[in-house]
């Protein structure tokens, strides 16, 4: 039940949002919540919020995220997000936790992501050099 719910949600929301004409407002009402969406080229970014959240601010949050993605990937496009979805998530985790905003400085977010990326790089290098050593040793 739980795992297919996400797909169902996406399907329902797509039906509602994709059919909306361009000039209309960026909010739809769905199952008692509000969904704020913003369109960038062929991508729609949606955020589901409660009745008493500030919709206009959420628009800014979405834009904040997209700008950071843009800086990270360098003119981000849809394929970047598909093939590097895990990185998109890592970045999202630096901006939101449990739906609340975490950091308003794009510079800070970029710095944190870069630091973690270099940790990963370092670990990879270490792993490959160890396996080289083992490969050499067991020849």
């Amino acid at each position: 039940m739980g795992r297919f719910f996400l797909v169902k949600v996406i399907r329902e929301l797509s039906g509602m949002i994709l059919t909306r004409a361009p000039k209309l407002c960026n909010f739809v009402e769905w199952r008692g919540y509000k969904v704020v969406y913003k369109r960038y080229a062929s991508l729609y970014f949606c955020m589901c919020i409660d009745q008493d959240d500030n919709e206009l601010e959420v628009l800014e949050i979405i834009h904040h995220y997209v700008e950071i993605l843009d800086r990270y990937f360098g003119s981000v496009c849809e394929l970047d997000l598909i093939f590097n979805f895990h990185k998109a998530y890592y970045i999202l985790d630096e901006i939101l936790i449990a739906g609340e905003l975490q950091e308003s400085s794009k510079k800070t977010v970029a710095r944190l992501i870069a630091a973690q990326d270099s940790l990963v790089e370092a670990a990879k290098e270490q792993a490959s050099s160890i396996s080289n050593m083992i490969a050499q040793a067991t020849k």
Binding site: G2, L24, L59, H64, Q102, A123
Partner: protein, 875 residues
């Protein structure tokens, strides 16, 4: 290299999936990958676990089941390296949710990672806990998180703050521990920590009154200063958005101030100047600025009143309302709803603009505007507003018509100044959008109509005119057919003409035409057709000269494949054909339907199943299986000491009464009562030895015998469908025949010269009325024939209607089958059933009886029961 590894890198898998042209192809690729991943997991493959989990996450996002990967996440989290932990935690957050039990196993890993030396690993753990933590995990790990609120690195402090929010939401008791640490965060300089700290304080105040008091006392001035400095701050490139420094922080601070100022005059005072400054100084040409203004207005609306500020706020909203930006208009409409509570006058000034918004091309705006208009309606403007809304109804989108018509009906019902206006408006709505209108709305309309006798003529004439032009609206047709049936005489005679009416000429034939057209329409559904049949019956009584024609119309439906229509057609045909004496009594003018009861029931939305008549009968638990016959002591709480039993149709009828099986009707098709069914038929038809019958065989006997014996009576009766419940129906029709035939012949007719006993209302609730008419059996002093009549007082049709009765031992009870088991709504017909009681203590003890009635309404089963003590003496 692991031979079971699929070997493909994640990006190759993604490419392969995207290259698939059909869903089946995609499923095949996914299946192959999943198989490889499963194998790798069971082989405990370390090398590719990172890649495999990444692939699994992608597959999960596509919607395929991936539960087998959950333990992999745990394994990766438990690994020492940063990349593994990173992907492991991400997998955890994507593949699991807090309901999974697997999550508990992660608690220990998270605890260790919260105390890790690498701050990025601490960050990962905080993130996962904040996104996913259950209440138990929150309780376990709260102390660690509390400690991290003071960590040296701001990156950790801000994550810890958000994690704390989840903890206090899951375990509100822990909130007190976090008050002081949260207050410290408010003194930070780092924006990230400030934002999260402010958010934490806001949520603390929502969850804990103690926190609210604390922050009100200690923090308001600091917060005000903070926001003021922020508003006045010079350009800061790192935080600038559209010329405003960190609008997010602005908004959060305003939200916290709102929570602190709500309901507290002093607190509100200290923030007034600041709010005024923000409201006036913030630029509103960009979204960021508007977001701040919006939050500011929300704050002003919530805190304690300062006249000037409120005016300022409503002005801003007015400006928003006329903006060309749809987003702004949307939030303005939203906020105006809250403003209504504070200053409805101010909002009324914008009524015209709001009404325009109801017609906006944007569906979201229309919805908000409609809600707001509903709040704006009062006695003064209701007529104008309704007129505008009804006019718009004609041109609105079909998707919107449902909402719009529902709101209009709601407004009309609530505020209608006079009944004639109500009826007019409802007719307009029904003509425009009748198909979108819910059942209880037009039921309410009918109730109102019956309660306005001086308007009956006007109503029926208006409806007549309306259906000449509008043919597509089912609901309108139903109301019209009902009214034509009831008030046809007023229609013809132009009685009760109001000044505003033009006289119209309607002949009797015209009236019948209306109903005939309605019943003949292809698109008329069951309810409409059923109502038409009853209306035709009424018309035949009111216009006897057209009886023949009406009978022909009804006749056409005797072969209907829909049981309800067939049954009605046969019965009404029979009434018109052979029972003219009682016809007018049957279809007399409806009594006024009780509005109070109706609206009460509507509000409750469940028909009363408890009898509210004399006394409070002891409750029988529904559906309790009582295997042995004797435990009837519960059932009949009579003063008589006899252990009550009951004898009625078939010995096993009592089981039915006790709820052994909730199947209704004496002649039920269960194995137990098979015999009883047969007995009943024997009684009815005086047939000789029947073979051992199944229910369907019994029916065959019924139809064949009828064809042979009473062919004259049942001309053209077609065999009824063989459903077990309906066994009583077909028998019922014949029994009704007997009943009605018996009027002339047997002494069971009420109109005799034998001593008559007064009828009693055996039982009456708000939804049902049961009348008993008594006659003595002339052949036996002890025996009384009771004709029970059941009338439906509600506007809903009852189906599967079954009456059951039980009597004490000194009485013998025999139930004939009922005339039908569908009880039309609003007394549009009734069910009759004959009971025969023999009183062995005749003269010494009076009759007494417990009854129980089951029926179905709107697909819900209803039980009504009661005890009848009001039998006339001497029976």
């Amino acid at each position: 290299m692991n031979p079971f590894s699929s070997g493909t890198r994640m990006r190759d898998m993604i490419r392969a999936i995207r290259a698939c042209k059909t869903a089946a192809e995609e499923r095949a690729v996914v299946r192959k990958e999943c198989a490889a991943i499963r194998a790798a997991i069971s082989e405990n493959d370390q090398d590719y676990s990172h890649r495999n989990l990444a692939k699994l996450m992608f597959i999960h996002m596509l919607g395929y089941p991936t539960h087998f990967g959950q333990m992999e996440c745990l394994k990766l989290i438990a690994t020492a390296g940063f990349p593994e932990k990173r992907i492991g935690y991400l997998g955890l957050m994507l593949l699991l949710d807090e309901r999974q039990e697997v999550l508990m196993l992660v608690t220990n890993s998270i605890k260790q990672d919260l105390n890790h030396t690498n701050q990025y690993i601490v960050g990962l753990a905080l993130c996962a806990l904040g996104n996913l933590g259950s209440a138990e995990m929150a309780r376990d790990l709260a102390p660690d998180v509390e400690r991290l609120l003071q960590f040296r690195d701001p990156n950790i402090r801000k994550k810890a703050a958000l994690c704390t929010i989840r903890i206090i939401k899951k375990v509100p008791d822990l909130a007190e521990n976090f008050i002081k640490p949260a207050a410290v965060l408010l003194k930070e300089k780092h924006h990230g920590v400030l934002i999260t700290g402010v958010q934490l304080c806001t949520d603390l105040c929502r969850v804990s009154d103690e926190a609210l008091e604390y922050f009100k006392k200690k923090s308001i001035d600091g917060l005000v200063k903070l926001l003021r400095d922020l508003t006045n701050s010079p350009y800061a490139p790192e935080y600038d958005i559209s010329g405003i420094t960190d609008p997010f922080l602005h908004v959060r601070l305003l939200k916290l101030l709102r929570v602190l100022g709500e309901g507290d005059a002093d607190a509100s005072d200290s923030m007034n100047d600041l709010l005024a400054q923000v409201a006036t100084k913030t630029e509103s040409n960009k979204n960021a600025g508007n977001a701040i203004l919006y939050e500011c207005v929300a704050a002003i609306m919530s805190i304690e009143d300062n006249g000037g500020l409120r005016v300022l706020a409503v002005n801003i909203l007015g400006r928003f309302l006329s903006s060309r930006d749809n987003n702004i208009r949307y939030v303005a409409l939203n906020m105006l709803m809250k403003a209504m509570a504070l200053d409805s006058q101010a909002v009324q000034r914008h009524r015209a603009t709001i009404l325009e918004c109801v017609k906006d091309p944007d569906a979201s705006i229309r919805k908000r505007a409609l809600e707001l208009v509903y709040l704006l309606v009062n006695e003064n403007n209701v007529k104008q507003l309704t007129k505008d809304l009804v006019d718009y109804l004609e041109v609105s989108d079909p998707e919107f018509k449902g909402d719009l018509s529902a709101k209009i009906c709601s407004i009309v019902e609530k505020f209608s100044p006079e009944k004639i206006w109500y009826i007019d408006q409802m007719l307009k709505v029904l003509s425009e959008a009748g198909n979108y209108v819910k059942d209880d709305v037009w039921h309410a309309l009918i109730v109102v109509i019956t309660n306005a006798p001086n308007l009956h003529g006007y109503t029926v004439r208006s409806l007549y005119k309306a259906v000449q032009t509008t043919t597509e609206q089912e609901t309108l047709l139903r109301v019209a057919v009902w009214c034509v049936g009831e008030y046809a005489d007023l229609l013809i005679s132009n009685a009760g003409m109001l000044d505003i009416e033009d006289p119209i000429t309607v002949t009797e034939a015209d009236a019948v035409n209306v109903v005939e057209t309605a019943i003949g329409r292809d698109s008329s559904d069951l309810t409409t057709r059923a109502m038409c049949l009853i209306a035709l019956l009424k018309l035949s009584s009111r216009f006897p000269s057209l009886s023949k024609r009406i009978n022909d119309i009804i006749h056409r439906h005797k072969r209907s494949l829909v049981l309800e229509l067939q049954q009605r057609a046969i019965e009404f045909n029979s009434i018109i054909g052979k029972h003219e004496k009682i016809r007018s009594a049957l279809v007399e003018r409806m009594p006024v339907l009780d509005e109070a009861t109706f609206s009460g029931r509507r509000a409750g939305s469940v028909p009363n199943a408890v009898s509210t008549s004399q006394g409070a009968p002891p409750k029988i638990p529904n559906g309790v299986v009582k295997p042995a016959p004797p435990p009837l002591v519960d059932l009949l709480d009579l003063s008589s000491d006899d252990v009550p039993t009951s004898v009625s149709v078939g010995g096993d009828f009592l089981h039915d009464l006790l709820g052994v099986d909730m199947s209704p009707a004496p002649s039920q098709g269960t194995n137990q009562t098979k015999k009883s069914g047969t007995d009943m038929l024997l009684d009815l038809l005086s047939i000789g030895d029947p073979p051992a019958l199944s229910n369907s065989a019994a029916l065959d006997i019924l139809s064949t015998s009828q064809d042979s014996q009473s062919a004259g009576d049942l001309s053209g009766k077609s065999p009824t469908p063989l459903l077990s419940v309906k066994a009583s129906t077909s028998a019922g029709s014949s029994s009704m025949m007997d009943l009605l035939d018996g009027f002339g012949a047997t002494p069971s007719v009420p109109v005799t010269d034998a001593p008559t006993y007064p009828s009693i209302v055996a039982f009456e609730s708000s939804s049902l009325k049961v009348t008993f008419n008594f006659t003595k059996d002339p052949s036996s002093q002890h025996t009384t024939l009771i004709e029970a009549q059941f009338t439906n007082k509600s506007p809903n049709i009852y189906s599967n209607f079954v009456f059951q009765a039980a009597v004490p031992k000194f009485l013998q009870l025999h139930l004939d089958p009922a005339s039908s088991n569908t009880l039309p709504a609003s007394g549009d017909g009734s069910i009759t059933q004959t009971l025969r009681i023999s009183n062995s203590q005749h003269g010494k003890k009076s009759l007494v009886m417990r009854m129980r009635i089951n029926y179905k309404v709107n697909n819900k089963d209803v039980l009504e029961e009661g005890q009848i003590n009001t039998f006339p003496r001497g029976l």
